[in-house]
Every structure is written in structure tokens, then in C-alpha cells.
């Protein structure tokens, strides 16, 4: 009679990630107290993009669907906020977030129905094309969307009106709004982590790895892809809603395919086969863009060339390459 093997536990337990995440959250919380306002505002942009990339990667890394149209959902979130300001005279950040979520759910559920029946190429081009359709609508219905001039969004009030934007805007953005973004970011990261480690997350990975077998263990492929699409779009829409008060303005540009390309790029840069990859990729990309844009006007060329280079030689991105290096280093010592 053999020694009973302890009941196998975890595909993931919460303790290890928390040991990494909590110190990082603390460090992030210290930023406005230690660094100048410009730094925290810049980082706020990075955190917002990270939420968007996190949503995007639920589809790519976990479900195996590469979307070239995620700018659409970011834009939907941003425009939902701008339109709430324009037509409903709303100024509460909480209401903005609710509005963005509702709008994102509507658009992604619609687009999702068409897109998730297809994979790979068709999915990619469909998502690209649908986002271009949305972009063209934002452009053409200028009496609603402000056309190329876009729509302005004033400083919102936070925490149900407790904190208002009256007074110094820079101070507001670098402190109060930064913390708001940080809290939302932490909540989003925690939520996404639970989702990818849930039975649902396992089903998505099964669909990614072997669609036929997934079907034959009872997973209804379209349905699960559709839900993944929805969740993914909502996260990205939320990012758009958080972005627009920072930027003060939303224009059709953020629904253009070039922005989708940036989302793809930052995720691949960070490493799409890991959980933290998109987060790191987004933050790094945000800094790169801020400093590189001053050097060259041929931004697409640079991005495209680096993307091709990444895919050819460093397909696992920053996180993947770093883990490999760490493993090799540990193996040696």
C-alpha cells in the first residue's frame, strides 16, 4: 500500500503572485510623493494602457485570437465618456466608468457575434475592418462626435463627488486622479488574474490549444470565445474611459488601426504568453513612445520594424526573455 499522495492542489495559488504584486503596488503608490508631477501623470497613462493591453491579451494569450481592432473598444469607452459630458452634462468619474462599460458591452457583444465564428486570419481582418468602420463613423458623424476636432472632457469628480477637480489641474491629475487610476488598475489586474485562473480561463486555454478536443470535452466554442471577446473589450473600454480625462480630449484617431497596432505591439513587446507581459509591455511602450516620438516622425516604420524583429527573434517578449535568462542564471549557480 503506497503512501497516499496529497491531493493535488493548485494550477495557481494566490500567495506567490501577491508576494510580487503587493510590493509593486506600494512602490507605485509612492510615486506621486517622491517624483515630480509629470512622472506620475506619465505613469498614469502607462497604467491606463496596461489595463487595455491586459484586456487585449485575454483574447490573444489565453484564447488564441489576435485582434487588430481593439482601438475600437478603447474609442468606444472614450467617446462614451465624451458624449456623456456633451449630452448629459455628467461629471462624475464613476458614472463615466459605468457608461463606458455599458457602451463597451453593447459594441463588443455585437462585434463579437460576427467575429468569434472565425479564427486567425478572418478574425484578424474582421476585427481590423470593424474598427475602421467605427472610425469612419466617428469621422463622418461630426455633428455628434466633433469630427477631427474631437470632443473635450473636463476634469471629472472622483469618489462620488468627494474629490473634485477644482483648483490646480496638474496637482489633481498627478495625485488624486493618479491614485484613482492606480486603484482601478489594481482591481483590474486582480480581476483578470482571477478570470484567467478560473475554470473559464482553463476552458479558454483549451480552446486555444486544441479547438476540436475542447469541443469534444463539452466546451461550446463560440459561446466561450464570445464571452472572452466581451470581457476583453470591456477592459479595453474601461481603459479608454480612464484615458480621456487625462488627455482632456478624444478624437477619432484613437479608433484608427494605427492605435490597434500599438496595442498589439506593446503586448508582444511585453510577452503575450504571460500574465504580466502586457502590463510591462504597456508601461515600457508608454515611456518609449513619449521619448522616441520626439526623435522621429516615422513612428510606424520604427514600430513595424521592431515588431517584425521581435517576432523573428524574441517572440516571448520582455517577460519571456527575462524568465529564460533568470532560469539560465539560476541553472548555472
Amino acid at each position: 500500500m503506497s503512501v497516499p499522495v496529497p491531493a493535488p492542489r493548485t494550477t495557481a495559488s494566490a500567495t506567490r503572485p501577491l508576494r510580487i504584486a503587493v510590493p509593486i503596488a506600494v512602490l507605485l503608490a509612492l510615486v506621486p510623493l517622491v517624483l515630480p508631477p509629470y512622472s506620475s501623470i506619465l505613469l498614469a497613462y502607462g497604467l491606463v494602457m496596461a489595463i487595455g493591453a491586459l484586456g487585449f491579451n485575454l483574447l490573444l494569450g489565453y484564447t488564441g485570437l489576435l485582434s487588430f481592432g481593439h482601438s475600437a473598444y478603447f474609442g468606444v469607452g472614450a467617446y462614451a465618456v465624451a458624449l456623456m459630458v456633451k449630452y448629459l452634462r455628467v461629471a462624475s468619474m464613476e458614472l463615466f466608468l459605468v457608461g463606458a462599460i455599458v457602451a463597451s458591452v453593447l459594441i463588443t457583444s455585437l462585434f463579437g457575434v460576427v467575429c468569434v465564428r472565425y479564427t486567425r486570419i478572418f478574425f484578424g481582418i474582421l476585427t481590423l475592418a470593424l474598427s475602421q468602420v467605427l472610425w469612419s463613423l466617428a469621422f463622418k458623424f461630426f455633428w455628434v462626435t466633433g469630427g477631427t476636432d474631437g470632443l473635450r472632457v473636463p476634469t471629472p469628480s472622483l469618489f462620488a463627488g468627494l474629490v473634485t477637480g477644482a483648483g490646480d489641474k496638474i496637482a489633481f491629475m498627478s495625485h488624486a486622479y493618479y491614485y484613482y487610476v492606480l486603484i482601478t488598475f489594481c482591481v483590474c489586474v486582480a480581476l483578470m488574474w482571477v478570470i484567467v485562473n478560473s475554470p473559464f480561463g482553463m476552458a479558454l486555454q483549451a480552446i486555444r490549444d486544441n479547438e476540436t478536443r475542447a469541443e469534444f470535452v463539452g466546451v461550446q466554442i463560440w459561446r466561450y470565445r464570445w464571452v472572452a471577446f466581451l470581457v476583453s473589450g470591456v477592459f479595453t473600454g474601461l481603459a479608454g474611459a480612464l484615458w480621456v480625462p487625462l488627455n482632456g480630449l478624444t478624437t477619432p484617431d484613437i479608433m484608427h488601426w494605427t492605435f490597434s497596432g500599438e496595442i498589439v505591439f506593446m503586448t508582444v513587446l511585453g510577452g503575450f504568453r504571460s500574465f504580466a507581459g502586457p502590463i510591462i509591455g504597456a508601461i515600457v511602450f508608454n515611456y518609449l513612445k513619449t521619448y522616441a516620438v520626439g526623435y522621429t516622425v516615422y513612428w510606424q516604420l520604427l514600430l513595424g520594424a521592431v515588431l517584425v524583429g521581435l517576432v523573428l527573434s524574441l517572440p516571448t517578449g520582455i517577460v519571456g526573455t527575462a524568465s529564460r535568462l533568470v532560469a539560465r542564471f539560476q541553472g548555472r549557480s
Binding site: V5, A7, P8, R9, T10, T11, A12, S13, A14, L191, V194, I195, N197, S198, P199, F200, G201, M202, A203, Q205, A206, D209, N210, T212, R213, A214, E215, F216, V217, G218, V219, Q220, Y224, V227, V231
Partner: protein
């Protein structure tokens, strides 16, 4: 052994065309409760197509499929799994990036309807993991629980494939060549494991096999197919003495 055993699965005049050929030609195929059936026939006889039709991978061009008295002909794959039909694949079809126990656990989550759960950690459902462990143990795979499915030996992959299908707790399990690609001395242990699990739970299994030793040693009943139609249907003894089967099949397979 004989007598009034209830029919679990009945196909009536099942037809499937591929271009101009009758892959399955008006087949009336039955599987009874608690029996192990072997489905034999030369390549192209229609065995895999028949299994594909019953499991829902293909739609038939004519005929009916009745499972436990319900008409499942138009049912989706999902519906048939819910009804109690499961299958493994000839070319091993697993989730190679997941561990062996993840493969089984996912199947259990799916069976229990738990994969709709987005906001609960999979790790915290100990009932599922305990059952996954039990199933792996029954198939002799508990040592490989934490190994990636892509990293175990061929024989273990074949067993894992069966274990995953079994984890759906079906009433009828279709196994498509469970010993193909495996060395001869591994075949018996695999079949021993599979049949002991099947018989101990009283489910039925229909096994596509080419190896006649396996066929005659492990099945209660044999159905022989040829060119899309059923050639013969009977006990191993009856089939052994059947002239047409011998000339068309047994004489041409590699076992003898």
C-alpha cells in the same frame, strides 16, 4: 451474456457520402448497455466515419441516430456529450500545454457546468481535483499528474486521451484505435486498464481496432464493416468462424 440486453445506441439506415463514395452505407449499428464492442474493418471501411457521425463531428446525409431512445441525429456535439456519448481520437488529441491532471480536471469542470465560472479560482475546487486524481490513478497515470500532456510517452498519451473522454462520465465511450502507435508489449496493459475501468463502471465502450489479438481478447461482441456497410455482427467465436469476415478482413490484416 445474450438475452434481453437493452440497446443503448441504435443507428437506422445511417448514410454519409464523400463525393461519389458511400463512406457509410445504410448502416444499422447497435451498442448494448454494459458491453465492450470491437469495430473492425479494413482501412476505408467506414469505421471512423461511423464514429464521427455518432459523436457529432459529421452530419449524416440520411438516417437516424437514437441514443437511449432519444433522437440525437440533429444534436450538436455539446448535446451528445450531455446525453452521454464521449470519444477519444485516433491521432492523440490533448491539450499539450496543460498538465495531465489539468486535462482531466478541465473535462470535469466542463461536465459539471463549472466552466461558466469566471470569478472563482479553479484551484479552489478540491472536489474536481480529487476526482481528477482518482481518474488518473484508475488509468495508472497518477505519477504523471503534473507533467505536461505533450511530455509524456506515447502509451501514456493514449491512456490520457481515454481518461479525458472517460472523465465526461459517459454512458457510451468510443475509442478510436486506442493502441495504435504503441509497441506490442504495451498494448495489453493499456487494454487491461481501459477495459477494467469500463467494466467496473458498467458503461459501454465501442473500440475501433486493427489488432486482432486485442479484438478477440477484449471484446464481448464484434462488428465488422466493409466498404461502408456492416458485414457481420456477433460474438468473437461467431466472427472467428465467419467465412466472409475471414476472407475480407482477418486474412488481410497484419496480425495473422
Amino acid at each position: 451474456m445474450e438475452g434481453a440486453k437493452i440497446s443503448l445506441l441504435i443507428t437506422k439506415d445511417l448514410v454519409k457520402w464523400f463525393g461519389d463514395t458511400h463512406a457509410v452505407d445504410h448502416v444499422n449499428f447497435t451498442v448494448k448497455e454494459s458491453e465492450v464492442l470491437a469495430l473492425i474493418g479494413s482501412n476505408g471501411a467506414g469505421k471512423t466515419t461511423l464514429v464521427n457521425l455518432i459523436s457529432g463531428l459529421f452530419r449524416p446525409d440520411g438516417g437516424q441516430i437514437l441514443f437511449r431512445d432519444a433522437d440525437v441525429t440533429k444534436q450538436s456535439v455539446h448535446g451528445r456529450i450531455k446525453a452521454g456519448i464521449a470519444r477519444s481520437f485516433q491521432l492523440v488529441n490533448l491539450f499539450d500545454q496543460l498538465t495531465a491532471r489539468d486535462n482531466v480536471a478541465l473535462t470535469i469542470f466542463s461536465r459539471e457546468g463549472k466552466i461558466a465560472n469566471l470569478v472563482a479560482l479553479a484551484a479552489s475546487d478540491s472536489a474536481v481535483w480529487d476526482e481528477a486524481h482518482e481518474i488518473l490513478k484508475a488509468f495508472g497515470l497518477e505519477a504523471k499528474a503534473r507533467t505536461l500532456a505533450g511530455g509524456v510517452s506515447q502509451g501514456e498519451r493514449k491512456l490520457l486521451d481515454v481518461a479525458v473522454a472517460y472523465a465526461l462520465r459517459p454512458k457510451l465511450l468510443f475509442l478510436d484505435e486506442p493502441t495504435s502507435g504503441v509497441s506490442t508489449r504495451e498494448k495489453a496493459p493499456i487494454m487491461d486498464t481501459v477495459t477494467s475501468v469500463v467494466r467496473s463502471t458498467g458503461i459501454s465502450a465501442a473500440i475501433i481496432e486493427h489488432d486482432m489479438d486485442v479484438v478477440f481478447n477484449y471484446s464481448d461482441r464484434i462488428v465488422a464493416m466493409h466498404q461502408g456497410a456492416i458485414l457481420a455482427d456477433g460474438t468473437p467465436d461467431e466472427i472467428r468462424r465467419n467465412e466472409t469476415v475471414i476472407t475480407n478482413l482477418i486474412g488481410t490484416t497484419e496480425a495473422r
